[in-house]
Symmetry: C2
Subunit: 302 residues, 2 copies
């Protein structure tokens, strides 16, 4: 794609900074402008240098930008949308990277100025680390970015945003807002809730010391702790903003767990064996399409 004149990244954590790194790698913009609500984060972003210009003033950041991407926790989007609305250039694209889309449309759409193309998006990528130091240029390579255009979204603007994400290294899909929130409730939100919960349970069990849990974590537990180390603010906002889908999927999880619990209680080895066999195939499929490594133990060095 031809480089944009200016893009603005609002929120310079791990995703915002990764977009900046990857946009620079791909020469996607002549000017990468950055804003963060935290003076400390702005200062750290300046030291790393992934933006061409940094702005404490959010209006100055988005001014004349052809693409504005909200990378803050979704709980802050409503205020941000209100703050940037008067400063956005006509014809610009307003997008985001939030992990929920229904709530983002609810909070942002009312403030989008006429002539601005609002196209929510969500890159399926990240690590357990947060902050501007955690970003890196290859984060999106081979991962999926999901665009969720709203009714009336301009086709050309969607195509431009798609090209931008391809330029960042992503594969791009388009999905309906509500379906996105259900898919992500399964693939992301439930796994995070469960991981946070299991790590919390282990933390609280008084018959076994925390030292023992940590020491013997390589027996399975440690895998969950990676996800449970994710950013608390981001995840609080996700659960507050995708309540319905999360509760629906959690209900199914609880039903299934009840069946496994009964199998353990009743010594039903056949049901256990069948369940444990079925789940193997999914791992294989994920590795086969390149969404995880085939190396044992994720190829860990330790």
């Amino acid at each position: 794609m031809a480089a944009m004149k200016k893009i603005a990244i609002i929120g310079l954590g791990m995703i915002g900074s990764s977009i900046a790194h990857a946009a620079r790698r791909g020469s996607l913009a002549k000017e990468i402008a950055g804003h963060d609500a935290s003076a400390d984060v702005l200062e750290r972003a300046g030291r790393i240098g992934f933006c061409d210009t940094l702005h404490a003033d959010i209006g100055a950041a988005v001014k004349d930008a052809q693409l504005v991407i909200l990378c803050a926790p979704v709980g802050a989007f409503k205020d941000i949308a209100q703050a940037i609305a008067p400063h956005m250039a006509p014809g610009a694209i307003l997008s985001d990277v939030g992990s929920v889309k229904g709530a983002v449309v609810r909070d942002v759409a009312p403030f989008v100025p006429a002539g601005v193309h609002f196209i929510p998006a969500h890159p399926i990528a990240g690590t357990e680390f947060s902050g501007p130091e955690a970003g890196f240029a290859s984060l999106f390579d081979g991962r999926w970015a999901i665009l969720t255009p709203v009714p009336g979204s301009d086709g050309q603007a969607v195509a431009r945003l798609r090209a931008f994400w391809k330029g960042l290294g992503s594969q791009v899909d388009v999905m309906e807002v509500g379906h996105h929130d259900l898919v992500l409730a399964i693939t992301s939100h439930l796994p995070h809730l469960i991981a946070y919960n299991i790590v919390g349970t282990a933390h609280d069990l008084e018959q076994v010391t925390e030292g023992e849990v940590i020491k013997y974590s390589a027996s399975g537990f440690r895998d969950f702790t990676r996800i449970a180390a994710s950013d608390p603010t981001m995840w609080r906002d996700i659960f507050l903003n995708n309540r319905e889908a999360v509760l629906e999927v959690l209900g199914r999880f609880n039903q299934d767990l009840k069946a496994l619990q009964e199998a353990v209680e009743q010594g039903n080895g056949e049901l256990l064996f069948d369940t444990f066999t079925r789940t193997r195939a999914i791992r294989r499929a994920i590795v086969d399409i390149g969404q995880d490594t085939s190396a044992p133990n994720f190829g860990r060095k330790s």
Copy 2:
């Protein structure tokens, strides 16, 4: 330690074969004898060549061995113990690698001949792969091996077994049988049950296709699929044989999950944030003591 004259490995899957590889690397035995109930596994083990002698006859495998290690699924231990009893050398150590210890003591102890030292053990190591091809010499390096001597275990024999596991690369701990089963219920059995369950739930949800679950798995779900790809027979046997501890820990997990569910229902952001903050510290502690990598995303290549 001085090399033993002969050790016998009963069951040549990923753990049995890794013991053989590591014992050879450490020159821990002059003869590494192997047995497996499956002719196919024996044949594959022969092709790889990690044992010095292979025996379809289990009695021949353990004859004259100074150390016999049961590496089969724990559900097979009772039959194995009966089969090897008449052939074991006086003064030999009989040990195992089972993930549960109470049931192993229950199933094996009654058949241990006088003069044989029965010392159950459990190395906290493994990958999601199984079979003789999955083993490798460095599997135990820096991981913990837990010995659970039974009342009357000979101190010198325990010291010899400890030296053997150190020779394989492990750190060694000693623990009471029942405490082991509770600790492992938390650090290993519950995580596996939950991982199997969440992958099964995703598999069954009909509003979202399996293709979507697989495609967008990098958003969290894929981490669970690694564990849920573990050996079904081994895990069936674990849940059938550590029922009480697993159900106790699962009860706590369910209680805690109920509280998180209510927080989502009621929009209690404070409780969510507090829980998600607490769990970060545990990840850090695990990385700090070298039981996991500090690299983002487990240092995955894809």
